[in-house]
């Protein structure tokens, strides 16, 4: 069988689009536009800013709580050490006084 370019051009000629295709595409685009307008770039930027601020505030809060807890622990340890020292000093004073 001889196959020439003309036969290929006829076989592969452009086929018409199905009826209503353009309307269906435009409906899809209308939906896309509606979604886009619901979530405008300005709204998305504002939401991102709120999330970022909340995130930073949360991190700051957690960090300050942690530091506060550490400070409290250090204070308790210092008080304990002082009370032990005072106890020992008073014991030493009593022993010197009894001599």
């Amino acid at each position: 069988m001889n196959l020439d370019e003309k036969q290929l051009s006829i076989a592969l000629r452009r086929q018409p689009a199905p009826p209503g295709l353009a309307d269906r595409i435009m409906m899809q685009i209308e939906d896309e536009k509606r979604i886009r307008s619901r979530f405008s770039p300005r709204m998305l930027a504002a939401a991102a800013l709120v999330f970022l601020t909340l995130g930073i505030a949360t991190v700051h809060e957690v960090r300050s709580n942690l530091e506060q807890r550490r400070g409290e622990e250090a204070r308790q340890q210092l008080l304990l050490a002082l009370s032990i020292t005072a106890e020992k000093a008073s014991l030493a004073r009593r022993l010197i006084g009894s001599d």
């Binding site: 069988m1 006829i10 076989a11 592969l12 689009a17 595409i25 896309e32």
Partner: protein, 191 residues
């Protein structure tokens, strides 16, 4: 503005400019103008009208999202061809190898230029070619594109385009010859 943009007489460049400014009717005009090109490339490469329609819808939706980057009517056409062919290649690669039962195809030995059976058979055989050969053939014979343009559209070297086209035509010729012989055999015509 919309009424003007939807007018058929509006030049492509103006329609693109108006569509880029957000005019829905102008974009509708672009869709209507190019839908058969996009749909037909997808139909010839997938052989499935439903899939071809889905690809066309995806391509135009992508165009809508990227409209700001389209600079001219020529750029628009090249962008549509390129995006459609790449979508088709992606689709073909996701599908398992298509098998066209050659037994179902028969050709008479004296095919006239108006032989629709020959053209139907040819279209079915094109669907069995490797994806790049298939798309190169469609761009060459449906879109009547020159080889350098096909090379740019498919992102492959010019030499590869030439060899793809050569191999595609050779494959189609040999398969047609096989079908022609089996058709002649089954109809009892022996030489």
């Amino acid at each position: 503005m919309s009424a003007v943009a939807s007018s058929i007489d509006i030049p492509d460049e103006d329609r693109l400019f108006v569509a880029r400014a957000g005019d829905q009717a102008a974009f509708g005009g672009i869709v209507r103008e190019h839908q058969s090109m996009v749909f037909s490339i997808a139909l010839h490469s997938t052989g499935n009208r439903g899939v071809a329609e889905e690809i066309a819808q995806d391509v135009f939706l992508q165009l809508y999202r990227n409209l700001a980057s389209i600079e001219s009517a020529a750029h628009l056409k090249a962008w549509l061809r390129r995006t459609t062919t790449h979508r088709c290649i992606d689709h073909i690669r996701r599908q398992p190898g298509k098998i066209v039962p050659l037994e179902g195809l028969e050709l008479s030995s004296d095919t006239s230029p108006h032989d629709t059976l020959l053209y139907d058979t040819l279209r079915r055989l094109v669907e069995t070619l490797p994806e790049q050969q298939r798309l190169a053939l469609i761009l060459r014979y449906q879109e009547e594109m020159e080889m350098p343009e096909i090379s740019r559209t498919l992102d492959i070297p010019l030499g590869t385009v030439k060899s793809h086209l050569h191999r595609a035509v050779a494959t189609l010729r040999s398969r047609l010859a096989r079908i022609g012989k089996s058709g002649a055999g089954s109809s009892g015509g022996e030489e």
